[in-house]
């Protein structure tokens, strides 16, 4: 075998792994109720592919080959351990299936069940996103740990613990009844957490991008495929696509941060904006407004600049007011203040900031960035400098820090 053949096989394995990982893990774990076992079996199969495929050629249907190989290793494991489990009927099903045509590809897509398991109420909410990234997309603990600012070892241990709880805690691989669909919110939250903070409508607010935007959008698309009629799923996708559309405009050629109001709309991605608008329009047909649709609507108002229109700040104020009525988080109140300052005058925005709870904003960077901006506009220079210092000191992104240092003067 020549070196290039080896690389070709490697690339095929990587491609199949990327495209089918979640489907394969979902299918295998639904039958065994054992997520960690399914992942182990699949990674074993992927390793085996790297030695067998270069020798025997890439099978006609690589996905089916991986499924059969992983399934056999699970069955072997159970036989070897002579484990009698509740899942035995399922295991039997898995065994029976293996006698069928090994090239079958029409195995059911069980990823929705897997998403509900990852965001199950019995699992620590902080682990919902890492579990999804690993189980559905196959990301390793080291990559996930960087995005969530914990050590790789700790992230690995937390993932193992969560998976043990899934296996031993009787967490069922199922889609909850319609009445329990509040559990969908946990999935949406977890996907959004992978995206990082999406908005950039407050100048100088630290973005905390997790570098997982693509993965989050992928997860949202998987979810939408499985739940095409859920307004909030569409809303979440619309929100993320609007934010993603501005990626290229957020930094200038020298890598400096450009606030939304100074971004050149010509640098925004029109196809992404249009896709976002389509999802948002589709969502509104169901008459079930929600948090993500409102947040997407705010970004949609900003996106009007791409069509040469002015930003309708009054509309943004209304959307933030609705979000605050749902739940008055400090992020929403800060966004409301920033929008009100544009719509009704700087003093009104500042009054909202003044009314907020001092303790809860003390380490909240966007609050200080907006506050500094408004104070500076009112000519209250000394107070503005103080607020700028707080915003700079709390910023993590060096580009934001530089921007604020310059504004502070």
């Amino acid at each position: 075998m020549s070196g290039s053949d080896g690389e070709k096989v490697q690339r095929t394995v990587e491609r199949v792994a990327r495209e089918s990982y979640g489907r394969l893990v979902a299918y295998l774990s639904v039958h065994t109720q054992d997520l960690a076992g399914a992942e182990d079996a699949l990674s074993e199969a992927l390793l085996k592919a790297l030695t067998v495929w270069p020798r025997d050629g890439v099978p006609q249907n690589p996905e089916a080959w991986l499924l059969t190989t992983a399934r056999n290793s699970i069955i072997d494991f159970f036989r070897h351990q002579r484990i009698v489990l509740d899942s035995e009927p399922n295991l039997l099903l898995l065994t029976q299936n293996s006698a069928e045509d090994p090239l079958e590809t029409n195995y059911p897509d069980e990823r929705l069940k897997l998403l509900f398991v990852c965001a199950h109420p019995a699992i620590d909410p902080a682990m919902h996103t890492p579990l999804m990234l690993q189980a559905v997309l196959g990301l390793d603990a080291a990559r996930i740990s960087g995005a969530f600012l914990v050590s790789p070892k700790t992230m690995g241990q937390r993932l193992v613990r969560a998976k043990t709880k899934i296996r031993d805690g009787g967490i069922r691989f199922e889609v909850p009844e319609r009445s329990a669909l509040r559990r969908l919110d946990a999935i949406l939250e977890a996907i959004y957490a992978a995206f990082g903070i999406g908005w950039d409508d407050m100048a100088g607010a630290d973005q905390h991008g997790r570098g997982l935007a693509e993965e989050a959008i992928w997860l949202a698309r998987v979810l939408l495929e499985q739940m095409p009629r859920e307004a909030e799923v569409q809303g979440l996708l619309a929100l993320m696509l609007h934010c993603e559309a501005r990626r290229a405009a957020r930094r200038d050629q020298d890598g400096r941060y450009v606030p939304l109001s100074e971004q050149d709309p010509k640098l925004w991605s029109l196809p992404l904006i249009e896709a976002a608008e389509r999802y948002l329009a589709e969502a509104s047909k169901y008459g079930r407004p929600g948090r993500f649709q409102l947040e997407a609507a705010i970004q949609s108002v900003h996106a009007e600049r791409a069509r040469g229109r002015r930003v309708e700040w009054k509309a943004i104020v209304q959307f933030y007011a609705q979000l605050i009525r749902m739940s008055p988080t400090i992020g929403r109140q800060t966004g409301y203040a920033a929008a009100l300052a544009e719509a009704d005058g700087t003093e009104h925005g500042l009054a909202v900031l003044d009314s907020m709870d001092r303790d809860s904003v003390s380490a909240y960077q966007p609050y200080w960035a907006v506050r500094a901006h408004l104070l500076q506009r009112l000519g209250r220079t000394a107070e503005a400098s103080d607020a700028y210092d707080r915003a700079i000191g709390l910023a993590e992104d060096p580009a934001i820090r530089q921007f604020l240092l310059k504004k502070r003067g």
């Binding site: 600012l149 914990v150 003390s362 380490a363 700028y388 210092d389 707080r390 915003a391 700079i392 000191g393 709390l394 910023a395 993590e396 992104d397 060096p398 820090r401 530089q402 240092l405 502070r408």
Partner: protein, 122 residues
């Protein structure tokens, strides 16, 4: 819990300290210090002089060994330390990520050892 943030800086970063106080390096550090104090997590800490000013002492078999410069011969050197008091390691890592050195050098987060301290001090 108390944690030490050990700040490692490159020679470039040490060189940029020489500004008049209105430079970006000092501005970022001043703001970070202020945020730590105002958020009530700052316990103590100081910047250190440049590594070349260090002198390293070892006493072996009764003989004194003296070496110019810092103990560890690495490109990035200890440039200062900050002690913070926060509820958890997660919170300490958040503060470390905001530290200016995290984006141009490195910040090591280490828990203080209160048990060991107690055994020594009491």
């Amino acid at each position: 819990m108390k944690f030490a943030l050990l700040i490692y800086e490159s020679p470039d970063a040490f060189a940029s300290r020489k500004g008049d106080g209105s430079d970006a390096y000092t501005g970022a550090w001043r703001a970070y210090h202020k945020a730590l104090v105002e958020s009530d997590v700052f316990v103590g800490g100081d910047p250190l002089e440049v590594p070349e000013t260090g002198t390293t002492i070892k006493v072996k078999d009764g003989k004194r060994g003296v070496q110019d410069g810092p103990y560890a011969d690495t490109k990035e050197q200890l440039g200062g330390f900050t002690i913070i008091e926060v509820p958890s390691l997660d919170a300490a890592l958040e503060w470390a990520a905001r530290c200016p050195a995290a984006s141009y050098g490195a910040v090591e987060v280490r828990p203080l050892a209160p048990e060991t301290r107690r055994r020594i001090v009491e």
